[in-house]
Every structure is written in C-alpha cells, then in structure tokens.
Amino acid sequence: MQIEIQSLRKVYPGGVVGLEGLDLTIPSGLYGLLGPNGSGKTTLMRILATLLEPTSGEARVGGYDVRRDKAAIRQVLGYMPQEFGFYPNLSAYETLDYFALLCRVTDKQERQRRIEQALGRTNLTQLAGRRVGTFSGGMKQRLGLAQALLNNPQVLIVDEPTSGLDPEERIRLRNLWAELAGDRVIILSTHIVADLAAGADQLAILHRGRRLFAGRPSEMLSPLRGKTWIIDIEEDELSRVRGDHFVTGVFRSATGMQVRVVADEMTHPRGYPAEPTMDDAYVHIMHQEAGSAADDLV
C-alpha cells in the first residue's frame, strides 16, 4: 500500500491556498505530517479521505484516484478528523455499531468482534455501555480512533489525535501506532514533534501548503549533527545569547538555564556539543523557511 501525490493543489473559494503543488510519496508504515496551523496538513488529509476535491494535481491511494475512485478508497480507509462529535444519546458500543454498519459490516458476530477489538485497542472496553454524551474530551478522542479502526483499514488517517489526551493515553496511542503500522499506511498529523519522534518511519514538514522536508527522521537530523550545542547560562544572559545564536529551545536546569542552539561553531565558553533532536531539526527547518521567505521579500 502506498500513497502517491503529484503537483497537488487546493485553492479554497476566496483564493485561500491550502496546498501549493505538493509532491509526496507515502509508503507503508507510520508517516508523520508536521507543520504549524494553516500549513495544509488537514487539507491534505481531507483530500486523501475523499472529503475534499483537489483543484489540480493527482493523488492516488493504493492506486485509486481520489477523484474517481472514492468508494474504493473508503473501503480501505479509516479517518479520524481533527474536530468531530458523536450522537450523545448512543453508548460507545452503539456508536461503533452504527459506524460499523456504515462500513457495510452487516454480519452481527463480525460486527461485534470488530467493535470489541476497537474498544480494546483504544482502552474503552470498560466504557462500552456508557452514553457518549457523558464522555470527556480524551474519551471521545479515543472513540474517534476506535471508529476509524472498525473496517481494519489499510490506510489510517488521523488528524491531531493526541490533543486532549493525558500523558498516559498519549503513550498508549504511540504504542498503538507501532502495533498497527506494518504493511498499512498510517498518516499522523500533529504539531507536537514528540508524537512522531518515537516511532515515525518517515515524515514530511508542510508550511503554507508546500513541502519543506520529506524523509526519514534520521535524514531530518543529519544536517544538524555536529552543529547542535547546549549552553549553560545565567537568566540575564538569555537575550544576549538569542542575539548571538539560533536558539531551538530554552530549559531550566538545577544551576540556572540551558539553551539549545544550532551553530557551525561554538564560541560561548560554557557551550558543549549535544545530539540533535527532532525539535531542533523542526525549529531549524522552519527558521530556514522564514529566512528564505525574508530573502524573497528582499
């Protein structure tokens, strides 16, 4: 299973550009989509989920065209949008039963098996009989994921799945991605880099509808190897260090503060080398994009 995207463009009514000639190949495994709000992540996911028509370009899910083969794509698709709700009068089990019927699972025993499996995977078994109207945000989020798993999808698209989840649930979800990935495609959109750091096989960074990076996490990190540093500073030094270096993170330490910086050479006396992280790489890429945009303006 593979998703191929060529020159994909989406312009909304009013001229707002969602995607600007995107090229991407998404192989099997966990694929992360990173980017700030408004970068085009949700637009891309909705096009792949056959909920939005692209303006131009092509996108194929497992060989099926998103314009012409919507029904075929939906057979193999599990989708969890960023914002969604359920019918509050139904229990979690009844909700999943309804959505399983929408997936054309007519056999009662098969439906029951799939629902129980989805409930188990999302840690909702104990809440199966409870009305969805009484669910917390995190529970709804998990139920949203459960409904996306009902048809045993070959392509699972989840948009910001960890928002509203407590740390334990987030870890549980990360483990679930690892369990589900394999020969299926899981596209995970997030603006939290840590969600992808643990297990993404590949990822892409989008910004203003364009691709800034696509590849393996290690490829994202490699340009920063030997260029990432930690500097121990006093609190009043921060603004000066910011002026002298490109800072990717600021942390408190037992003795004062630490800043992570990306630089070819370290001139600060309390600076020492560090292993680059995904956060460093992400912030660096976004900074480069901002710089080139500024250059374009000049």
Partner: protein
C-alpha cells in the same frame, strides 16, 4: 454490493429509529399525546371509533407538525454533533440507501407515538368497561401513515437539502396553516383525508428520492444519482396527476352531471309530508333506498366523524333499534363527511342495527360545506347531528337537533305508534 448496502441500510434504519426515540423531545411528545388521548377517550359516550378518530385527528393536526420538526432535528444531527465527516468517510456515507434508511428510522418515531396514544385510548376503553374495537384503532393507525410520511419527508428533506432546519420550520408553518385556513385553501392541499393518501405517499417518496439524489453533492462525493433524480421526477409527476385527479373529479361535477343526484338534491322536506327519497351506498357499496323500507318507521340521522359530537347519534340509534325492534324501526345514519375511510369504523361499531350510508357529493368535514351534499340539501341540514323521524308512510313526523337528542326516545315512541 446492492444487497449489502440494502442490508446495512435496514440495520441503520433501526439504529436511526432508536436515536429518534431516545431524545427527551420524543418522550415529551409521547406523554402529551397520551394525556390528550386519555382525555379524548374519557368523555361519556365515547366509543372506540370516536376515541380512535380523535387520536387520528390529533395526529394529523398536531403530531404531523411535530413530525416535521423531529425529522428536521434528526436530519441536522450530523452537522449539529459535528459527525458529518465521520459519516461521509465511511463506505455507506454518501449512499442513497443511507438517506432512505434515515428517513424510515425517523418516520418510525411519530408512528410509535401514535401507537402509544392509541394504546392509551384502547386501555381507557377497556378499563371503563366499554368494548374496544381493534378495527377502529388499526384504521386510525393506517390512516396516519401517509400524512406522517409526508410530514417527516418534508422536515427531513428540506433540512438535508437546504442545510438548515429553517426550511423545515417554514414547511411546518405551512402545514399548520392548511387545517386552519381550510376553507380558503384548495381542497387538495389538505392531506389529512383518507382519499388523499396516494398524493401524500407519492410526494413523500419523491422528496426522499430527490434528497437521496442530491445528498452529498455539497461535498462533491461523486457517484451518479441520475436514476434517482428521474425517479423523484416521476414520483412528483404522479403526485401532481393524483392531485389534479382529486381537484377535477370532485363530487361537485358528479352532482351536476348525475340527474339522479340532481333530482335528489332538488327535493324539499316538509313536515307531515312524504320525506325526500334517496338511493345511496352503504359501506359495502350496496345501494340503500328509502323505498326499501316501506311500512317501517324510520329514524334518519345525519352525522359526520369530523363533528365528533354528532357521532353519538349512532349509539343512540343502535339503542333505539334494539328497543323498538318489535315496531320494526329502521335506523339509517347518513354520513355527510367525504372522508369515507374515517367513517368506516363507526359503521362497523353499530351494525347490524344501524345502516350507515354515505351521501354523495363534495362536502368537506369542516361544518361549512355540507350544503353541497345532495341529501343534505334535500333535508336542509345546516348542522349535524340532525335526526328526522318518519312514520310508516314516509311522512316526516319530527326533526331533532343536538340539543333535542334527550327527547329522541319519547319522539320515537310517538312515531312508531302512528298507524
């Protein structure tokens, strides 16, 4: 594939029905309807047919308006709960089967309320020691189906197509205006009478088909809907033809064309003179004439189920027929409502003692247009109930209105004593 979709749709209809029946609105309406049914069936002299008719009346006048709003609320549920994208991303998400399934499920909700109301009315009859009449309740239920289908289709389709329950609200207002302004609106606009069920059913099916054809277009979710569009067009055309048929084949034309009916209407009723004759069909289509009843005293009552207080003359006539059996009293009840389907259970309740016949001619059930009925014209009936007592020589001996009903037995005693 088609079988799989249809089977899924049937199961979804069941879930949709459960959803529609779970909300507090459903139980509020069901409770209010039950109280109303209890009240209408608790008055003295209320028979099963009258209780069932009252329930039907409440249904078509009030519950159908609520059905529009219930259906509109159900159709807006996906958007209201932000579940549209979850639904649309599923295999059956933009299928016309889903539209049909949801409509059927939602339609089940007001039907269930009618069943509850009828059950309450029947229980009241049983507890009160009155005979309950299954035919009357089932007749009322069946006659509710088409008006409720149209009301549900209006609320469901307009909300789905116009992406706003506002359109359904406007439809509900129109629906309310029809019975309120019946004298002014065309006869065919009133979907409540039995004979209009084909128009209501075709319109409902056409609306749902059109909705299914257009469903999902906003999200450009693909798939050809042309056959459904054609089906909707055909159904609407069928409804239009049926409506025109009702409008242009009204009994007014029949009255003008049929010399027998014209002659019947031209008769005049005079005290102590032979009463106007007639030749009208009973519930089984057999023609009953005054000449068939020679040498028998006759109690001839005009009534109509749309004036429920007039229906009590049926029970009075039945009692009189039993009491004056030795005098060979013939009891004839002339139904002047044109909604014959509504009157049939009443006729069943009082046979064989009372023969119910239908006056022909176009006459609405609102108390204002009975003058169009030929027999009503001949007997100068201004309001129902009206009872005319004829002696063995067909001479008019007494006429009684609603206030004079307590004097019926005394008047009959005098009439049967006439040589």
């Amino acid at each position: 594939m088609i079988w799989s979709e249809a089977r899924s749709a049937a199961l979804i209809a069941r879930r949709e029905y459960q959803l529609s029946c779970r909300g507090p609105a459903f139980w509020v309406v069901a409770a209010a309807g039950s109280v109303l049914a209890l009240w209408r069936s608790s008055s003295s002299g209320v028979t099963a047919a009258l209780a069932a008719y009252a329930t039907w009346n409440v249904t078509v006048l009030a519950l159908s308006v609520l059905a529009i709003l219930i259906a509109a609320s159900a159709a807006a549920r996906d958007r209201r709960e932000a579940a549209s994208e979850l639904v649309f991303s599923k295999a059956l998400g933009n299928s016309p089967y889903l539209v049909a399934a949801r409509f059927l499920g939602v339609w089940g909700s007001p039907i269930t309320i009618v069943v509850i109301m009828l059950a309450v009315a029947a229980a009241r009859q049983v507890i009160g020691g009155s005979p309950w009449h299954l035919g009357a309740y089932s007749n009322a239920l069946v006659r509710c189906l088409a008006p409720l289908a149209l009301a549900t289709a209006l609320g469901f389709s307009l909300t789905t197509l116009f992406v706003s329950p506002l359109a359904a609200g406007i439809a509900a207002l129109y629906w309310v205006s029809v019975p309120l302004a019946r004298g002014q609106l065309p006869w065919v606009a009133d979907m409540t009478p039995t004979q209009h069920w084909p128009v209501a059913a075709l319109l409902a099916a056409g609306l749902v088909s059109l909705t299914a054809a257009l469903y999902g277009r906003a999200l450009q979710t693909g798939g050809s809907r042309a056959p459904l569009g054609w089906a909707a067009a055909l159904l609407f055309a069928g409804a239009g033809i049926a409506a025109l048929g009702i409008a242009f084949s009204g009994d007014d034309t029949l009255t003008r064309r049929d010399p027998i009916l014209s002659a019947m209407a031209a008769q005049r009723v005079l005290d102590k003179q032979p009463a106007p004759g007639f030749w009208s069909p009973d519930g089984s289509g057999r023609l009953v004439g005054l000449s068939d009843l020679s040498d028998r005293p006759i109690a001839l009552a005009f009534w109509g189920p749309s004036a429920p207080e007039s229906a009590q003359v049926l029970r009075l006539l039945q009692d009189a027929a039993r009491k004056f059996r030795s005098a060979n009293l013939a009891c004839i009840a002339v139904c002047v409502d044109s909604d014959s389907g509504a009157a049939a259970p009443f006729a069943d309740e009082v046979k064989p003692e009372v023969t119910v016949i239908w006056d022909r001619g176009q006459h609405y059930g609102d108390g204002e247009r009975w003058s169009d009925s030929p027999l009503g014209l001949a007997y100068e009936v201004k309001q129902v109930p009206a009872i005319f007592l004829l002696d063995r020589h067909r001479r008019l001996q007494a006429r009684l209105d609603y206030e004079a009903l307590p004097r019926l037995e005394a008047a009959l005693t005098q009439v049967v004593a006439e040589p």
